[in-house]
């Protein structure tokens, strides 16, 4: 008997505590960002990026991944998923630093980053953790040159597929890197 069934048996008389069956069972469904079996790390780096860097969509969204870029300007950003196609999304995900404030889409951090820290160079890193049901949450971190996280901004409004497509830079972005996991590609079985 599944945990969910036991739960239903115990609580069927009390509507107020009925579980929402549309919600994935956290016991049964391991969040994709925790899956490491049969996967390997991958990493792509683009130095002095101009315009958009097309990513292999297969590399993104299935497992945890991060997109990061370096800048020393008070405003610089990336947009992701913009080249999905005519029937694709209309609102690309934009994130970065805007006049010293960390932001992702409409969400802006309340603390302004001092210009002295910006001048020394910053790493803006977006970590995306896919969840069951095509949901994903994103965590945007601002790190100084030593890799120390200075501030964090989180958002949980995205779908895993929002990130597929390309990454375009805007402002003084010196490098972009994409890291994550992808499934180990098994060679096709030889049928004799």
């Amino acid at each position: 008997m599944l945990r969910r069934d036991i739960f239903n048996l115990l609580f069927t008389t009390n509507a107020a505590v009925q579980p929402n069956l549309d919600t994935p069972d956290p016991v049964v469904d391991t969040p994709a960002y925790l899956v490491t079996d049969h996967t390997v790390y991958y990493s792509q780096e683009f130095t002095n990026p101009e315009g958009c860097a097309v990513l292999n969509p297969e590399l993104l969204s299935a497992f945890a991944f991060s997109i990061s870029f370096r800048t020393s300007a008070p405003s610089a950003s990336l947009t992701a998923g913009v080249l999905e196609g005519p029937e694709g999304k209309t609102l690309p995900v934009s994130f970065g630093i805007r006049e010293g404030y960390l932001y992702i889409s409409d969400l802006t951090h309340e603390t302004k980053i001092g210009y002295d820290k910006i001048k020394q160079g910053l790493l803006i890193k977006l970590c995306v953790n896919p969840q069951p049901g095509n949901r994903s949450y994103a965590k945007l971190q601002l790190q100084d040159q030593s890799g120390l996280t200075l501030s964090v901004l989180k958002s949980s409004v995205y779908c895993s597929s929002d990130w597929e497509g390309a990454i375009c830079s805007s402002g003084a972005v010196t490098s972009i890197s994409v890291t994550g996991r992808r499934a180990i590609i098994q060679p096709a079985p030889i049928i004799t």
Binding site: T36, Y41, S43, K125, Q141, Q143, D144, Q145, S146, G147, L148, T149, S151, V152
Partner: protein, 450 residues
């Protein structure tokens, strides 16, 4: 030599050692003698001095300290050993820089207050010293750790943090068990520094342990500098004794690495309570606001899927324990109850007394050098960590604990402080190896050599 070449060469040399255990060069202790100096002859420096004076392969050419009491104690030890008196450097906080100008220094050992470690390590490297041993930790800020790593790479030199607990007998036996697969695939590890340091943090200004509630300029020995960190900082201030041994079990920086970290701290109560209990609420130090939470708990995740919990607990009354736990798919070891459980070998759901297991898997290094280590500080561990450093220096080989280990273990402090500062945020753990952790091979204690 650039950074990439440095990392590659270190890995290749280490790999060569790994695959050539029967090379005659490594069959016995290497011959020769190295010229060595010590910066810091306080109580910890004197521990190392005592061990170095027993070695015929070390020529102690200089010692340095600004504290005349500690320096006199060191000189007395040297006189009693019958060895030649080294050159003495003292009189100013820059005396160590003069000492580093000496010609022919092969190795330097640093045992000074924490905030001096980074400048002294880098100063030694810039002076051309190729082997630098530092007491834990190697820096205060995260940038300090990068500075030490970059300096070691730039000067193609070895920096070994003297993390002695890696050589504790039970810890090494458990490492041996891990390597032989007794616990299966490792899942989770715990360690920490759970040591009631109240009599270290406070004393009467005349002797090192207890007898008063003074610290800073009115204190003596460690109370003169260490306690101040508890006033101003909140984080795992002393992580390396806990993390070093467990990092070896899962090959951190050699096929694995720390990925993320967060920390939580309790309220700060016990240091204030100690002062009030011992000296009353009207003592000036009863007005000090200590920032360090009494118990700081840190969680780390690793690239290969393991988790680690560290605890820093130095302010409240408790017996000493590092709280080790090494757990895999087949069983686990816990040092607190000195017990082991291995599925299929132990009676189901019943702990085995660890002794028989630890005896059976006693590490070859301890079998070979156990007698030599008797009487050495901290149950013999100090002998092994110093032995490893000296042997590596004599052979011009990489030290078994290298600068990347030092940085990753020691950087837990500023990262845990930052996590707490950000409201217990989980933050990224930097990769000091620049990606080479994926190809570097384990080198620590692979045989009975060093």
């Amino acid at each position: 030599m650039n950074r990439r070449e440095f990392v590659k060469n270190s890995s290749l040399t280490a790999a060569a050692i790994t695959i050539l255990p029967d090379n005659p060069l490594f069959a016995n202790e290497a011959v020769g003698k190295i010229k060595m100096a010590i910066i810091g002859t306080g109580l910890r420096g004197q521990n190392h001095l005592e061990l170095l004076l027993k070695r015929d392969d070390v020529e102690l050419v200089a010692i340095c300290d600004i504290d005349s009491i500690m320096l006199d104690a060191a000189k007395e030890m040297i006189r009693n050993s019958g060895k030649a008196m080294p050159k003495i450097f003292t009189g100013s906080t820059n005396a160590w820089k003069q000492m580093l100008q000496m010609k022919g220094l092969k190795a330097v050992l640093i045992a000074t207050p924490w905030e001096w470690h980074k400048p002294m390590i880098i100063g030694a490297l810039e002076a051309g010293v190729k082997y630098v041993a530092s007491e834990v930790v190697i820096g205060i800020t995260l940038q300090d750790h990068w500075d030490v790593v970059r300096a070691a790479e730039k000067h193609d030199a070895q920096v070994m943090m003297l993390e002695n607990v890696c050589y504790r007998r039970d810890v090494m036996a458990v490492l041996n068990m891990v390597r032989q697969g007794v616990f299966g695939e490792i899942l989770h590890l715990q360690g920490g520094y759970q040591h009631d340091l109240r009599i270290v943090k406070f004393n009467d200004g005349k002797k090192p342990y207890g007898g008063g509630v003074e610290f800073n300029e009115k204190g003596f020995s460690e109370a003169r500098w260490r306690t101040n960190h508890s006033v101003h900082r909140d984080g795992d201030l002393y992580p390396t004794h806990g993390i070093g041994p467990v990092a070896q079990c899962i090959n951190i920086n050699r096929g694995n690495r720390f990925i993320k970290i967060n920390s939580f701290s309790t309220k700060a109560r016990s240091l204030h309570k100690y002062i009030v209990d011992k000296a009353g609420e009207n003592h000036p130090n009863a007005k000090v606001n200590f920032r360090l939470g009494d118990i700081v708990t840190t969680t780390i995740s690793c690239a290969n899927g393991e988790t680690i919990i560290l605890q820093h607990d130095t302010n409240s009354p408790r017996p000493y324990s590092l709280g080790f736990r090494v757990q895999g798919t087949n069983g686990l070891w816990m040092d607190v109850n000195n017990s082991i459980y291995v599925e299929g070998k132990s009676k189901p759901h019943t702990w085995d007394d660890a002794k028989s297991w630890l005896d059976q898997y006693d590490h070859p290094l301890w079998k070979k050098y156990g007698n030599d280590a008797q009487g050495a500080g901290h149950g013999g561990m100090d002998f092994f960590v110093l032995h490893a450093f000296v042997e590596a220096a004599k052979r011009d080989e990489p030290t078994p604990l290298d600068v990347y280990d030092a940085a990753a273990w020691s950087a837990i402090t500023p990262l845990s402080e930052q996590s707490i500062e950000l409201g217990n945020e989980t933050i990224d753990f930097p990769d000091f190896t620049g990606g080479s952790w994926m190809s570097r091979k384990p080198v620590f204690a692979l045989n009975d050599d060093y």
